[in-house]
Amino acid sequence: MYGGRKELKTNELGLNTDKLNTNKLNRSKLNIKKITNKYMLEIILLAIVIIMTFTSRGFFTTANLLNILRNMSLQGVIAFGMTMVIIAGEIDLSIGSTVALSGVIIALTTGKLEKAGIMPMEQGVWIGILLAFISAGLFGLFNGFLLTKFKMPSFIITLAMLNVLYGLAAVLSKGFPVTTLPKWYDVFGAGQVFGVIPVPAIILLAVFAIVFVVMTYTKFGRSVYAVGGNPEAARLSGINVKFVKIVCLVVVQLCAALSGLLVSSQVMSGAFSFGRGWEMTAISSAIIGGASLSGGIGKVWGTLVGLIILGVINNSMTLLGVDEYVQYIVRGLLILIAVLINTIQTQKKD
C-alpha cells in the first residue's frame, strides 16, 4: 500500500516535468506539428486527390467525382450509425444482412399488397419502407436487449445476427431478387437534384449532419462518449448506460435499413445478396476517421473524411485498372495501417 502510493506519486511528478520540458523545447515546432497531427486525415485525402488528378485524366471530372459520391453513399449512411456504436464501446457486424433484408421486405410487401388487391404498388411501397424500418429498429432493440440484459458481447450477438438475418432474407425472397417495385421508386437511389447531384449523396450528407449535431451538441451525444470511455463511471454519474447503448444499436440498424432502401432503389429489386461485407466499409471509415474500438473516442467528421478517403481510393484503383482482387488487399492493408497509427498515437500519450 505504502510503497505503491509513493511510486505513483513519483510517476506523476515525472510525467509533469517531462511535459514541461517538451513544452519549452518544442514550442516553435509544436504549431506545425500540432496542425499536421490534427489535420492528418484531410492532408492525406488532399494528397491522394492531387496525385490522382495528375496520374489519371478521368479523375478530376464532375462526372467522376459525382460517381464517387454516389458509390460511397449507399454504404456510407451506415458508417455514421456505426461511429455512434463504436464510440459507445460496442460493435454491430450484422448490418450487411439488414441491408439485404430491408430491400427484400420493401419489395415483397409492395408486391403482396398489390397482389392481394389492397393497395397499388405506388402507395404500397411506403408500407414496405415503413415495415423495413420498423423491423430494423426491432433488430437493434433485440441486440440491445441481449447486450444489456444478459451482458453478452455485441460482437457475438451481431455476428450471429449477421447469419440469422442473411438467412431470413434468403428464405423470404426464396433466393431470387424481388422486383415488385413501382417505377418512381428509383428516385432514392438513382435520382438527381438539379439534374446533377445524386439523391443518395444528399441523403448521406443529411445523415452525416444529423449524427454530427447529435454527437457534438447534445446531451445524448455527450452520454455516448461518457459511456464508451468508462461505462462504470458513467453509470455512477447517473447516466442510463443501457438506454444509451440500446439507442446506438437501434440507430445503426435504422441506418442499415436506409442503406437497404437506397440500394434496392438503385437496382430496382430486393435481393438477399445485397450488402455482403458492408460492415467492413462502415467500420473502417470510422476507424480511419480516428474512432477507437475500445470506445469513448471518435469523431463524426473523421468518419466522413475516412469514408471519402475509402471512396477515392476505390475509384482510383478502378481508374488505374488495379485488379479487383488486389483491391481487397489494398483496402485490408489500409485498415491495418489506420489502426496502427491510432495505436501508436495513443501509446505515445500514455
Binding site: M1, Y2, G3, G4, R5, K6, E7, L8, K9, T10, E12, L13, L15, N16, K19, Y217, T218, K219, F220, R222, S223, Y225, A226, G229, N230, E232, A233, A234, R235, L236, S237, G238, I239, N240, G296, I297, K349
Partner: protein, 495 residues
C-alpha cells in the same frame, strides 16, 4: 530450523522514508503476525521479502546467509513464497494443473495426466486439504482458492511463507478452515509471516506479533504475553488529532434515512438517519461492508430488503439516475475505474453528472458548460492549464477534485465520499476536507468512509462503526481516542 532476518533495513522514496532501520528476525515453526496501520511500512517489508522491491540500505538474511533478490521469481527460487490477497490461479484449469503449472510431469512430449493428478493429490493430502485435484478452479470459492495457493506455495518447500491479508475476503467459518490449515503448517520447518488488519485474529493464530509504525520497528511481542491494549498502544503511539472547524452546524431536519437495509453476505439491518449539514463518518476495516452499503443506498448495487427515505419520501428501487434526481451524489473509492473517464477532457469529466443542467432540451448550452467547468476549477482550486486537457494529465489530488466537482455541479443535498483521500498527498487531503466542511456550511450533508480512521475523527460530526456487515456502534469524535476507534473497528473490546 531456519531463520529469516533483516539487518538495518532502510527503504526511502523521494520525500519519505517507508522503512527506517528495521532489524528483526523470525524463526520457523511459528506464525509471525506483522501489523501496523496504513502507511506503517508493513507492506513495504513484505514486498522486500518477496523481491518486488529492493531495500535502499540494509540486508535480508536467511539462516545467516545474505540474500539479494533481483525480482520476485528470484526470491521465490531462494525460498520465499508469498500468497497475495489477489489470487493468481488460472480459473479455467484444474487444481492439479494450477499447483503444478510450469512443471507438469511429462511422458515424452505429452503431459502425464495420471501422474499429475497423483502428485497434486498427494500434496493436497499432505496439507489436509479436502479438494479433489481434478476440480476446476473456477468452481472453487475464494477460501478454497486460498488453500490451493498455499498448497502450491508449500509444494516448493520454501523456507519462508508470507500470507498477505488472507482472511480479508473470507467469512467466519472459512477463516476457521484456513486457520486449521495454517496451524498444520506450523509443524513444517517454515517461517510463516502473517499480515493482517484484523486484530482479534492475532490471539487465535499468531505466536508473535511485530508492530511497525511510521516505518519504524516498534517491537515484537509473544502473543501469550500481549494484551489488546498493548498492541493498540504500539500501533498508534500518541497521535495528534486535528479538530474540525467549530462553525459547522447540524440542523434537526432529517435529509436521509435508512431503515433495516439488508444485502445478503454484504451487510444486514443497517439503520441510520442523516441530518441537514451533518457529516457522518462510517468507520470500518476493508471488507466490513461500508462501500457496499453506500453503493446500495445510491442504487448502484442492489439490496434485498429495507427502506430508504430522502426528505421523508420513500424511494423505491433506487438507481443512480433516480438518486441523482433526488439530490444524492457519490464519489467512488476507485477513482480510476469508477470515477473518471480517463480518455476525456477535464471539462467533460466535470459536466458528466450535470448534463441535464447544462442543456436546454436535448442541446448542450456551450456557455453553461464552460461556466460549470470553470466554477468548479475556481471553487475547488483545481490546478489546470486548460480545461480541455485530458483528465489523466492531472495529479491524484486534482483528479479527486474533478470527481467531487462533477458532483457539486449537480447541486446535491447529500454527498457520499468513499475514501476521498485515497492516493493523494497531505495537502490535497486537507483541501478535500475543506470542501466537505464548506458543503456542510451550505447545508449539504455528507457521509464519509475512510480506512484512515483519524481522518474521520478530524472531519465528521458523528461516526458509525461498521464491522462484518453490521453497525455495531456510534461514537462522537470528541469522546473517543483513535486507539479506541481502531479497536472498535477491528473487533477488540473497548478498554
Amino acid at each position: 530450523m531456519s531463520v529469516l532476518e533483516t539487518r538495518n533495513i532502510v527503504k526511502t522514496y523521494p520525500g519519505t522514508i517507508a522503512l527506517n532501520d528495521v532489524s528483526v528476525s523470525f524463526e520457523s515453526g511459528k506464525v509471525h503476525a506483522l501489523i501496523g496501520k496504513n502507511g506503517s511500512g508493513k507492506s513495504t517489508l513484505v514486498k522486500i521479502f518477496s523481491g518486488a522491491i529492493e531495500p535502499t540500505r540494509g540486508e535480508v538474511l536467511i539462516d545467516g546467509v545474505r540474500m539479494k533478490f533481483s525480482d520476485p521469481r528470484d526470491a521465490f527460487a531462494k525460498g520465499i513464497a508469498t500468497v497475495y490477497q489477489e489470487l493468481s490461479l488460472v480459473p479455467g484449469l484444474t487444481v492439479a494443473e494450477n499447483i503444478l503449472i510450469g512443471r507438469l510431469p511429462m511422458r515424452g512430449r505429452f503431459v502425464d495426466w495420471k501422474k499429475t493428478f497423483a502428485i497434486a493429490g498427494e500434496l493436497l493430502k499432505e496439507m489436509n486439504v479436502d479438494i479433489p485435484p481434478d476440480e476446476v478452479v473456477y468452481n472453487l470459492s475464494v477460501w478454497q482458492c486460498q488453500m490451493v495457493e498455499i498448497v502450491k506455495a508449500m509444494s516448493f518447500r520454501p523456507k519462508v511463507l508470507q500470507l498477505d491479508e488472507p482472511t480479508s475476503a473470507l467469512a467466519q467459518h472459512e477463516i476457521q478452515a484456513l486457520f486449521k490449515m495454517i496451524r498444520e503448517l506450523k509443524k513444517k520447518d517454515v517461517v510463516i509471516i502473517y499480515v493482517t488488519h484484523r486484530l482479534h485474529e492475532l490471539w487465535e493464530i499468531a505466536d508473535t506479533c511485530t508492530v511497525l509504525r511510521d516505518g519504524r520497528l516498534i517491537g515484537t511481542v509473544p502473543m501469550q504475553e500481549a494484551t489488546h491494549k498493548d498492541i493498540i498502544k504500539m500501533m498508534f503511539g500518541d497521535v495528534e488529532i486535528h479538530t474540525r472547524p467549530h462553525d459547522l452546524k447540524v440542523e434537526d431536519e432529517v435529509v436521509l434515512e435508512v431503515k433495516d437495509l439488508v444485502r445478503k453476505d454484504k451487510f444486514k439491518n443497517v439503520s441510520f438517519q442523516l441530518k441537514k449539514g451533518e457529516i457522518l463518518g462510517i468507520a470500518g476495516m476493508l471488507g466490513s461492508g461500508r462501500t457496499e452499503l453506500l453503493k446500495s443506498i445510491f442504487g448502484a448495487d442492489p439490496f434485498d430488503s429495507g427502506e430508504i427515505y430522502i426528505n421523508g419520501q420513500r424511494i423505491f428501487s433506487p438507481s443512480p439516475v433516480k438518486m441523482k434526481k433526488a439530490g444524492l451524489a457519490m464519489t467512488s473509492e476507485d477513482r480510476k475505474r469508477e470515477g473518471l473517464n480517463q480518455i476525456a477532457s477535464i471539462k467533460d469529466n466535470l459536466c458528466v453528472a450535470s448534463l441535464d443542467l447544462i442543456a436546454k432540451g436535448p442541446f448542450i448550452k456551450k456557455h453553461k458548460e464552460d461556466e460549470f467547468a470553470q466554477r468548479q476549477v475556481n471553487e475547488l482550486n483545481i490546478k489546470v492549464s486548460d480545461v480541455r486537457d485530458s483528465v489523466s494529465s492531472l495529479s491524484g489530488g486534482n483528479q479527486q477534485k474533478v470527481v467531487v466537482g462533477n458532483w457539486l455541479n449537480t447541486n446535491p443535498k447529500v454527498i457520499f465520499f468513499d475514501e476521498p483521500s485515497r492516493g493523494i498527498d497531505v495537502k490535497a487531503k486537507q483541501q478535500i476536507f475543506q470542501i466537505i466542511w464548506e458543503q456542510s456550511r451550505k447545508g449539504v450533508s455528507s457521509i464519509m468512509v475512510s480506512s484512515e480512521l483519524e481522518e474521520l475523527l478530524e472531519v465528521c460530526h458523528r461516526i458509525l462503526i461498521m464491522r462484518e456487515g453490521l453497525i455495531v456502534g456510534e461514537i462522537k469524535p470528541e469522546e473517543v481516542k483513535i486507539e479506541e476507534l481502531y479497536s472498535l473497528c477491528m473487533g477488540g473490546e473497548k478498554n
